[in-house]
């Protein structure tokens, strides 16, 4: 098993995580679960970015690692903003069910 095979394993894992996360963001019945699904999707993106930089060495590898670093930081910041929105929505509507919130709005 060489590096290409490991890269493919990481790519497939990242793709599976990304698809699972995106699917669950839209189908979750709790806003907190949607935020968690977003986190899983970010994991998939991080893993895919990381696997794409594995075959390089030197500064190119460092560039790929920098992309992953930026992705980690931005993903964490976006998730914190999402959590703040979840808390604000809960204080306004008293529920975290998206269908219930939609019903209360109309």
């Amino acid at each position: 098993m060489n590096l290409i095979t490991e890269q493919i394993i990481l790519l497939i894992t990242g793709m599976v995580l990304l698809l699972m996360g995106i699917y669950s963001v839209f189908t979750a019945k709790n806003l907190l679960k949607s935020v968690m699904s977003y986190q899983v999707a970010v994991f998939g993106v991080n893993l895919t970015l990381f696997s794409s930089s594995l075959s390089f060495i030197g500064m190119q590898r460092l560039l790929g690692d920098t992309f992953v670093f930026i992705s980690i930081v931005v993903g964490a910041a976006v998730e914190v903003v999402g959590l703040a929105i979840v808390v604000a929505v809960f204080r306004k509507f008293g529920t975290l069910n998206p269908a219930e919130i939609r019903r209360l709005i109309h």
Partner: protein, 160 residues
């Protein structure tokens, strides 16, 4: 062979933990599985020679964001934390602490320069000063993970 097997096991563990986290009906159980998947991803980064990213990922997601998610769960009253059995909550707490401690040990043993089987570790060369006091780093990271997970285990048993 040994390292490829480890990476394969970690990838399977990451997918399984994420799937369980997304498919679980209880939000608190999802949080626990999400913690596991964060640890697995940090370990994958470390196995492939990038211990700085692994450490950063674990500190950010398994440490800070897990605690923040937990606080939001408690604030919104979604905390179905009761596990209906004190022994079960203790077992989950012990397993979680063991996984966190193993991950911390894993990162620091693989960052000691013996992870050259995959690639050259650039981040280690850049941050070589960081690894000169490895016992202290190890102690601090184990304390951080253990304290956060002890809080989690305590919250599990508090719902009874």
């Amino acid at each position: 062979m040994y390292s490829e097997l480890i990476s394969l096991i970690l990838c399977v563990g990451l997918i399984v933990a994420s799937f369980l986290g997304l498919s679980s009906k209880r939000v608190s159980a999802s949080l626990i599985f999400l913690f596991y998947s964060s640890v697995f991803l940090g370990m994958i980064f470390t196995v492939f020679g990038d211990s700085l990213l692994g450490l950063l990922h674990m500190v950010t997601y398994a440490g800070a964001l897990s605690v923040m998610l937990l606080s939001v769960i408690l604030m919104t009253g979604q905390s179905d934390l009761s596990m209906h059995s004190k022994n079960l909550s203790k077992i989950v707490g012990v397993i979680t602490i063991a996984v966190a401690a193993f991950a911390a040990l894993f990162i620091f043993t693989h960052s000691a320069g013996n992870s050259q089987i995959f690639s050259q570790d650039i981040s280690l060369q850049l941050l070589s000063f960081m690894w000169q006091f490895r016992p202290w780093d190890l102690l601090i990271i184990v304390m951080v993970f253990m304290s956060s997970m002890l809080v989690l285990a305590n919250l599990f048993s508090r719902g009874e």
